[in-house]
């Protein structure tokens, strides 16, 4: 187990370097210039721009810039935003808490609603309620989140008036519920389907028959014997899903005007703020890797047949 964790942690190093390099190169390849973007429509002396670029180190070859960035990174310095002159670390620290809150809400919603719907449908496969769930989830899966987002916004904010269309700058928990539901809808549909299939399959297993033959109450047969087996694949999906949710949601945050990581990365891309984009992506890669490691370890806890050496 210890060796397995160590190996997985070591594997993170190449993934980490590879992903930062990739994002770095992509930012470099993008047309546009962060320094010129500062000036907007105004005419600026090219010599001045060259001067600022030299100060920022942007005139150096790409590989030198990258090494410089990595070097700073290992000293805990994520760089500075060109436009605001604020340290990237501070900018991320400002935006991240709200994304985390949104992710937690969405995750809770995914787990509670997704698993419950999946169980309800899976216990009676091929029944009307099963088919309606499959239909509903199909709609959710095929609907882009901006369509759902605007629909929800239109219905609850403009028609019913029970919610505000946009969240405030320091959103309260209740304000985040609506965006969280929109954000969760896609994973909710997947979780519901996954649970449904897993439950419908396991309910016919021999050990379920044994559990009934033992004279256990139905509550226990379903709650312990069926669920412990059926939730294994669902937990795996949820693990990667929470990694993805933590990465912020550009579209959902955009619709509800939430100043989270998704918005931040979107704005930074527009302004060609390389350091900000690379910083955020790096952080998200780490979050994702840690989440998937935790899931893999949890997997072994849930299923004793799996052993890591």
């Amino acid at each position: 187990m210890g060796r397995y964790v160590a190996r997985r942690l070591l594997q993170m190093i190449p993934v980490f370097i590879g992903s930062t390099l990739l994002v770095f190169l992509m930012m470099y390849a993008l047309p546009g210039d962060p320094v010129r973007a500062l000036a907007g429509e105004q005419h600026v002396d090219p010599a001045q721009i060259a001067q600022i670029k030299a100060d920022l180190g942007l005139d150096q070859p790409i590989w030198q810039q990258y090494l410089q960035y990595l070097g700073n990174l290992f000293q805990g310095d994520l760089g500075t935003q060109i436009g605001t002159k604020r340290p990237v670390a501070d900018v991320i620290a400002d935006a991240y808490p709200i994304t985390v809150r949104l992710a937690i809400f969405a995750f809770i919603f995914t787990v509670v609603a997704g698993i419950s719907l999946g169980i309800v449908a899976g216990l009676k496969a091929e029944s009307l309620r099963d088919r309606s769930l499959l239909g509903l989830t199909l709609v959710l899966i095929s609907m882009p989140s901006f369509v759902l987002g605007f629909l929800v916004q239109h219905l609850f904010a403009f028609q019913l008036g029970i919610a505000k269309p946009n969240v405030s700058l320091e959103p309260t928990n209740s304000e985040l519920i609506m965006p969280a539901i929109v954000l969760a809808s896609l994973s909710l549909a997947y979780v519901a389907r996954l649970t449904r299939t897993s439950v419908a399959e396991n309910i016919r297993a021999d050990y379920m028959r044994t559990a009934v033959a033992k004279g256990l109450p139905r509550r226990r047969v379903i709650g312990v014997h069926l669920m412990r087996n059926s939730l294994i694949p669902v937990v795996t999906f949820l693990g990667t899903d929470i990694g993805a949710l933590m990465g912020g949601a550009i579209v959902t945050e955009g619709i509800f005007n939430i100043k989270g990581v998704g918005q931040l990365v979107f704005e930074a891309l527009g302004k060609r703020e390389g350091a900000t984009v690379v910083g955020i992506v790096t952080l998200l890669v780490i979050v994702y890797l840690v989440c998937s490691l935790l899931v893999d370890l949890l997997y072994a806890v849930l299923d004793p047949r799996i052993r890591y050496a």
Binding site: Y207, G215, L216, R228
Partner: protein, 352 residues
């Protein structure tokens, strides 16, 4: 090997059943399955009884309805598609088919327990064997986790699993096939039920382990004076342990007999065919006998005797009239206790 203080486990002799009736009395049971291809008549009027301390072996090939009968007794038949159309299952004189779900649940595991064929798939793969054994005590007797664990270790000792205390938190996949079947047996035995139904308990095991498991089962049965229904298609397995045998074919009992009698003088051509198809050392090199044809499709059971299309002795009457399970007698008319044959020509078969 752990030594077991056997006397500690022997329960008080069971008080005789209300009246002197049998423990279990299955009467004219009919079960069918509604499938897309039509109605499959899996059980068509099965009658049998089991008394305390008695072993009934139910013999038959796949699809003969022996497992369905057992599942119906146990109340674990999938309904739908299964449907009990007729019959009674009296347990200690009470019809279980008329009980509420909750009453039946309380009988399951506590009064009637079942041992399944494939212990690997029949045990929950993600729960430790200690948990699965202890569950019996915790659910039915409200025991604490700790006490249930102690009882589980005791049980595992009793079914002769070495180092029981050390293996209590192991999972089913960490045990060998024979040990897993012992765990199944221990689980069935946990609450000292009156009746155990063993559905092909040794089919998934290799021959030496088969013998061990059967011996263990027989020993425990004697010790607890339980009734035992042993479902099998293996004629060798039943010879040693069974008291009486019921041979099933296409959802009907075609022959009943005390165990020795059946082997020496079968009274039904099907039984005779089964016995002749056992490989024998003294007939080495000769072609092995096989019953021709296949068991009937249960959605289209032939008219008359279901075995008639495969029967070497079939006459016209066999294809029109269903033979009842008639008592079998000696040539001089002397009654043979417990013998019956559902063949129009049982006299010719047994005496001919």
């Amino acid at each position: 090997m752990t030594t077991i203080d056997k006397t500690a486990h022997v329960p008080a002799p069971r008080e005789s059943v209300s009246g002197d009736g049998p423990l279990l009395d299955v009467r004219d049971l009919h079960v069918e399955f509604h499938t897309r291809d039509g109605v499959a008549k899996a059980v068509n009027g099965v009658n049998y009884t089991v008394s305390a301390g008695e072993t009934l072996a139910v013999l038959g090939e796949s699809g003969s309805g022996k497992s369905v009968t057992a599942q119906t007794i146990m109340g674990i038949l999938d309904m739908p598609p299964g449907k009990i159309t007729q019959g009674e299952i009296l347990f200690r004189g009470q019809d279980m088919l008329k009980m509420s779900n909750e009453e039946r649940r309380k009988v399951r595991g506590r009064k009637i327990a079942m041992i399944f064929q494939d212990a690997l798939s029949s045990l929950n793969p993600v729960l430790s064997v200690g948990y699965q054994l202890g569950e019996m005590f915790r659910v039915h007797q409200g025991m604490s986790r700790k006490d249930a664990k102690a009882k589980s270790i005791e049980l595992m000792d009793q079914v002769k699993i070495p180092a029981a205390a050390a293996r209590i938190s192991d999972y089913p996949h960490q045990f060998s096939g024979g040990m897993r079947q012992r765990i199944m047996i221990a689980m069935a035995l946990a609450l000292e039920p009156d009746l155990i139904i063993a559905d092909e308990p040794t089919t998934a095991l290799d021959v030496t382990v088969q013998a061990q498991v059967m011996d263990l089962l027989a020993e425990l049965q004697r010790e607890y004076n339980m009734g035992l229904i042993l479902i099998t298609h293996d004629l060798g397995v039943v010879a040693d342990v069974a008291d009486k045998i019921a041979v099933m074919y296409a959802g009907r009992i075609v022959e009943t007999a005390p165990v020795g009698e059946l082997y020496s003088r079968p009274a039904h051509p099907y039984t005779k065919g089964l016995l002749d198809s056992i490989p024998r050392l003294d007939q080495k090199g000769q072609e092995l006998y096989a019953i021709k044809g296949l068991p009937p499709n249960l959605t289209r059971i032939p008219a008359g005797c279901a075995f008639s299309p495969r029967c070497p002795k079939a006459q016209d009457i066999c294809r029109t009239d269903v033979p009842p399970l008639a008592p079998v007698t000696e040539q001089d008319g002397l009654e043979l206790v417990g013998r019956g044959s559902a063949c129009h020509f049982w006299k010719e078969t047994i005496h001919g």
